[in-house]
């Protein structure tokens, strides 16, 4: 693989939050490269900067300094509107708490992601195959409260990839699931990576979950310490 395959390029990334009168240095010069089609696990103790890195890569918050390029687009120079566009088109999120809209059915939770991305018509025909893979086709007309945790997380994965984003960011996707459902969800993420080449960054505390990725990035004190 050459540099042209790098979809995420992070150099000297810093993020400082102001909490009351105190500056909190969440990232202190993180470096990371992720290639297209990679499945990268990010591990590290609480406060190591994993979530902050996740939020910056997802365009949820701007970086303070450093270099972040996603698909060649410089996030440091990006406006709020630019980051909104990034979330709409380039990034899909999967959260620990599923974060489905409780008032909508599973199908509508997926459809609203397409609506926000201004995608007209039905999803890519390939998406139908993905629904089969996720095993939720028969549960699509149920509201989140009628779905199990594993089913909700599979709906959240479907929602995250319905617009064919360049990157799927998964933040502790198995954090609220039992062992069986965790294995199912992790297996699905790996299948998505292998079958459709979905680039995935997954934050996890669980070494077994991290092992599903091609490689594991360890963070500590706002820096990437080692890669395995």
């Amino acid at each position: 693989m050459n540099n042209g395959d790098i979809i995420i390029r992070v150099r000297g990334l810093r993020k400082v939050y102001r909490v009351g009168d105190v500056d909190v240095h969440a990232l202190r010069g993180a470096d990371l490269d992720v290639r297209r089609g990679e499945f990268v696990s990010i591990v590290g103790p609480s406060g190591s900067g994993k979530s902050t890195l996740f939020h910056i890569l997802g365009g949820l918050t701007p970086p303070t300094a450093g270099e972040v390029h996603i698909h060649g687009r410089d996030l440091l120079a990006m406006s709020e509107a630019g980051r909104t566009e990034l979330r709409r088109k380039e990034v899909g999120f999967v959260f620990q708490k599923y974060n489905l809209l409780p008032t909508l059915s599973a199908a509508d939770n997926i459809a609203i992601a397409r609506h926000i991305a201004r995608q007209s018509g039905g999803p890519d025909p390939k998406f139908s195959e993905i629904l089969e893979l996720l095993g939720i086709r028969h549960r699509l007309h149920h509201k989140p409260r009628a779905l199990s945790g594993g089913e909700q997380q599979r709906v959240a994965i479907a929602r995250a990839i319905v617009n064919s984003p360049s990157i799927l960011l998964a933040d502790e996707p198995t954090g609220n699931l039992d062992t069986e459902n965790s294995s199912i969800v992790l297996g699905l993420l790996r299948d998505l990576n292998e079958r459709i080449g979905q680039t995935i960054l997954m934050i996890t505390h669980n070494p077994e979950a991290a092992a599903y990725g091609h490689r594991t990035v360890r963070m500590r004190d706002g820096r990437v310490m080692e890669e395995a």
Binding site: L60, T84, R87, K89, N99, L100, D108, I112, A113
Partner: protein
């Protein structure tokens, strides 16, 4: 999809949605009922005045058409008017307020019958005794009166001698002379009605009278009907304005509280939408559409409630109040409710649109 989300949000909290609809409905109903009462009562007063059968009305100098003033026209004017060319009949009345907007009217039944054809009695008979009173059907129903009942008016006990069909001049009628004596207005009148020998003489009679009595308010009945309007009642327009302003404030507060709590409750959902790439405008759009649905449906409910308030008025206070359904005010009241609701939704919508996505996603 946005509409689906808006309706799903409204269905998700049915009690809050229903309370918001009801509050906006009451706001609209309050405006429409007030306007309906104002217009209804004025129209009823005009209808009863025209029901006399006269073509001309004369009041004392310095009095207005709608204000209630003491009897100050000398009874001698009756013969003066009868002496005028083309005048066939002159009827003098005395009006005495009895509290609120209610009055008792003093009449000479013979004069009145000659002009109007007389009251149509549902039960009972004309006056025979000084303390006899005739009431119309609405007044009897509202006050549970039948022929032979005793009615307390002006600190006197009166015997209900007759119940008549409504629509002619007054709801409560006693002998003119008795009322004049009782109110210290012996020989005085409040209003004089004239009937020319032929209706086509009306304009000529009015013109001649205005020349002879330039200080007297003299109206044709057509003119009188048009003058019974909200704008001609001192203070009524301002009163309606105050009620409408209160309506806007109520609508604003209701929607503000409703949408503010909705936005607080949906903080995490706003975060989810933002994580999916929803712009601030997208969030604003959802909140304002939700507000618009509440305001439009609440306004429709308010219009329906107006029929209920009209039924209540006509059932429980048909003599004291008359409420008209005022379709020409529906868009005005609806517009006011929608404007109040949109203003009320502005801060919650702005707060939601400006929410930090990360904070919103971590909201429990």
């Amino acid at each position: 999809m946005t509409n689906k989300l808006v309706l799903a949000n409204l269905k998700h909290r049915p009690v809050r949605t229903l309370l918001s609809l009801l509050a906006i409905g009451v706001e609209v109903c309050m405006m429409l009922t007030l306007v309906g009462l104002s217009e209804g009562m004025l129209e009823d007063a005009a209808r009863r005045a025209t029901g006399v059968g006269a073509d001309i009305l004369i009041r004392a100098p310095g009095t207005s058409l709608i204000s209630m003033s003491s009897a100050s026209l000398s009874e001698k004017y009756l013969s003066f008017f009868l002496d005028q060319p083309h005048v066939r009949i002159a009827v003098g009345t005395v009006e005495q307020p009895t509290g609120g907007v209610s009055t008792v009217t003093g009449l000479d039944l013979a004069e009145f019958t000659a002009m109007s054809g007389g009251f149509k009695f549902i039960d009972g008979r004309p006056f025979r005794n000084p303390r006899d009173v005739i009431v119309d059907e609405y007044y009897a129903r509202q006050n549970n009166l039948t022929v032979g009942s005793t009615l307390k008016l002006l600190n006197q006990d009166w015997n209900v001698c007759g119940i008549v069909e409504p629509g002619k001049l007054a709801r409560v009628v006693v002998s003119r002379q008795v009322l004049q004596d009782l109110t210290g207005a012996t020989g005085k009148l409040s209003r004089i009605f004239l009937e020319p020998a032929a209706p086509e003489n009306t304009a000529a009679v009015i013109a001649a009278l205005k020349e002879k009595l330039p200080d007297f308010p003299i109206y044709s009945m057509a003119e009188l009907t048009s003058l019974y309007s909200v704008s001609n009642v001192p203070g009524l327009s301002a009163f309606i304005g105050v009620i409408i302003a209160l309506g806007i404030i109520v609508g604003f507060l209701v929607v503000f509280l409703s949408m503010y709590t909705a936005v607080l409750e949906r903080t995490r959902e706003v975060g989810i939408l933002k994580a999916l790439g929803a712009s601030p405008f997208y969030i604003l759009n959802i909140i304002f559409r939700e507000t618009a649905v509440l305001a439009v449906a609440g306004s429709a409910l308010g219009i329906i409630l107006t029929y209920g308030s009209r039924w209540a008025v006509m059932t429980f206070a048909p003599a004291a109040l008359t409420q008209k359904i005022v379709p020409d005010w529906w868009p005005i009241a609806g517009g006011i409710a929608i404007a109040g609701a949109v203003i009320g939704a502005f801060y919650p919508a702005w707060k939601a649109a400006g929410q930090d996505a990360i904070e919103a996603l971590s909201y429990e």
